[in-house]
Symmetry: C2
Subunit: 433 residues, 2 copies
């Protein structure tokens, strides 16, 4: 008997029929004799509807009050899910974040979990009942309701799994969603993309950062920290999905051979901002990015190059942020008193990700050669320990993704591929901030 | 400075604009320097929508889970009301039933309040904030959410006022609703009905039982028990409404003279069931009404008459219940083994209510004479200490109501009227169960 946490997202519980279907899955898992905790998000558009109500009254609503409001969405879902389970003859009890003992900081709308007391859950197990827990919420020390912000329900599920130490008896956390699992690339673009049976936390985090929307990075980090295997799967299909787990376990799944590159990703619409001929003084980088972040702009990769005592700093941003970034960057140059601003549009970023890069050479060169053979110009290169990214013209983006996917035989998924040479770390091409 | 509880019903907070209007009223009261607690119901149709959702999943939903579900309606309202107050510059904080310390029994969907800890409210007063509290809900000893059933939000408001002992500093409980206050009769039927400035708890309870839908009896009983003056008034009009309070205070408002009859009421559509020629054995009444109540039929007035060792028992019911009551009453006669069943339809009940009847004679005779002069036939008469009711043909109902209203000069409202004789209790005409 294992302890399993099953989380259902907002689309999966979008109406009574869907809730019933999810309840049937839970009933099947329960029938197999496992200890089970169910976590649910708010139904479909509930969250948007509640935000619209609040904004009709107060365009700058208090964060505490927003949490009071938003937390009702999950409360409706848990009650309905418990009723659905009871209808199927499965004893169940719904619990709010507070009732299940999820304590958080008092940073309303983006609270962090500080502790979970698993006593209530264990008591429900002893009574033979399936606890159905509100995702996304908790309470802070003064008893106020808090919400966890983006990716909150996934985080609740993984955190409950951590508190119950599911891994110790072979358990895990099921994240039921509207995709089959994690693919080697976005299957809407790369037709021969393959579903992965397993992927490491680290790789999943890189892919999430590169725009693979399967899971929010936060829950994955939580899983990594507490060693909770996370099983991402489709809520309306019976198939197994992708297990996100530690590198060691992934390697065991794959046999003795390493998978060097596990996936490829595309960010399709970027712009690049360059601040050229600026004095390379100590602290100038801090000053620049302080200013950019105050304008609420998410900066992607940063590259710095030097010429004597002058430097050039480039960074990529989402295309939609370019207008704002132009203003902020101009202010920076005014403050510095010198330098040139250059903005390039129409860029994309293609990346290859895999923990195997740590111990294999030739990954970067294989990627660059493949892009060169496909006549894709490379504007910029950035790398991390387990990722290589190339900035390419937007119009080549999708073809570049397919090229990288083919170059590493990713269509084989988890299967062993024609191997690269082991031993030396990937050549570092550029510094990544 | 007084402590005032202000309760707004579901229609009053039905959309963001209405919530904002209610918030303005609260802001005005707060500006006058009072300690203030706001209680709100769920917005408009929310409750019905939630019930429909539940029934789409489980036609016999668990009561605990229904409470988990239903309680979200008020939680949405309090958050929005707090935001509205904040928008107007009034510091406010929303609180669930649990957060405000409302403890109840664990009888889900019809829980009774067992205690209220006013500490949290006093702490919010000290911080200068207006607590906005969810009506209709509390928590039971195990931390589960409960709801109070019909009339629950009014009961919450009056109970909070009781816990804060509002009467001791001249405070009261405002019940904002969609009527102006309590009238001497339904103003839709009696054109010269007058709004009462004050009415006693006892009179209000009789009127509520007679179908005056202004307030649910439960909250009035709570007010009577704990001495909380209840001010019923219109949520969208500035006028004062009707103060429901103890007999002594009402009398003080009216000066030295008693008001004998304070209001008249009509139940427009009744049927009468008679079980005739049944043996008047000990326990036969219990057996009969046990059977009727198991069929979930609300019985109105009961009259029993004897002839030797035989008895005849009549009772009135809502016209809509007649089909069910016929089946149940037939079963009763089968069980008794003798007797006759008679059903009359097309009846109405007109009543006069007033605590002054306790100490004045001639009330009954004035009422009967007036109905006689108006050629209204009287089928049945029942009385309580403060009420006289006559069963009349349905087609005479509205005219009978107007006749009684005129007979006691009720169009003068709280003003002193041509007086009746004091001293002897009203003649009892028939026994009322």
């Amino acid at each position: 008997m294992a302890t399993i946490v099953q989380k259902f997202g907002g689309t999966s519980v979008g109406d009574p029929q869907r809730i019933m279907r999810c309840a049937k899955r839970v009933a099947e898992t329960k029938a197999a004799g496992h200890h089970l905790v169910v976590v649910v998000s708010a139904m479909g558009d509930t969250t948007d509807d509640l935000i619209a109500l609040a904004e009709a009254i107060n365009t700058e609503p208090d964060r505490r009050e927003m949490d009071m409001l938003m937390s009702t969405g999950e409360q409706v879902s848990v009650a309905l899910m418990a009723m659905a389970l009871q209808k199927l003859g499965v004893p169940a009890v719904s619990l709010t974040g507070g009732q299940v003992g999820i304590r958080t900081t008092d940073a309303h709308r983006k609270a962090r979990i500080t502790s979970i007391d698993p006593q209530r859950l264990r008591r429900e197990f002893a009574l033979g009942r399936v606890p159905v827990v509100c995702g996304f919420q908790g309470i802070c020390d003064n008893g106020d309701i808090t919400t966890l912000g983006r990716g909150g329900s996934d985080t609740t599920a993984v955190a409950l799994a951590a508190a119950l130490d599911v891994a110790c008896d072979g358990g895990y956390c099921d994240i039921f969603t509207d995709v089959d699992g994690v693919y080697t690339a976005d299957p809407r673009i790369v037709k021969n993309a393959a579903k992965l049976a397993a992927i490491s936390y680290e790789e999943m985090l890189e892919l999430a950062a590169l725009g693979a929307g399967v899971m929010h990075a936060r829950a994955v980090m939580f899983g990594e920290k507490y060693g909770v295997p996370i099983h991402v799967r489709h809520s309306q299909k019976p198939d197994t999905g992708t297990m996100i787990t530690d590198e060691q376990s992934v390697r065991e799944k794959h046999g003795m051979e390493d998978i060097v590159v596990v996936g490829a990703a595309l960010k399709p619409d970027l712009g690049r901002v360059s601040l050229r001929r600026i004095p390379n003084n100590v602290g100038v980088q801090g000053m620049i990015f302080d200013c950019i972040s105050k304008a609420n702009i998410m900066v992607d990769d940063i590259v710095q190059t030097e010429f004597g005592d002058m430097a050039s700093i480039s960074f990529t941003v989402d295309h939609g942020d370019l207008a704002d970034v132009k203003i902020a960057a101009s202010q920076v140059l005014d403050a510095i008193g010198t330098g040139e601003l250059a903005i390039e549009i129409g860029l994309a970023k293609v990346s290859a990700v895999g923990t195997g890069m740590k111990s294999h050479t030739g990954v970067a060169s294989r990627m660059f050669r493949a892009l060169g053979d496909a006549a894709v110009p490379i504007h910029n290169i950035t790398t991390s320990e387990i990722k290589i990214s190339c900035i390419v013209p937007k119009e080549h983006g999708q073809r570049a993704l397919q090229t990288v996917h083919d170059a590493f035989n990713l269509e084989l998924g988890d299967q062993v591929k024609p191997e690269l040479q082991t031993d030396h770390p990937t050549n570092r091409i550029a510094t990544r901030a």
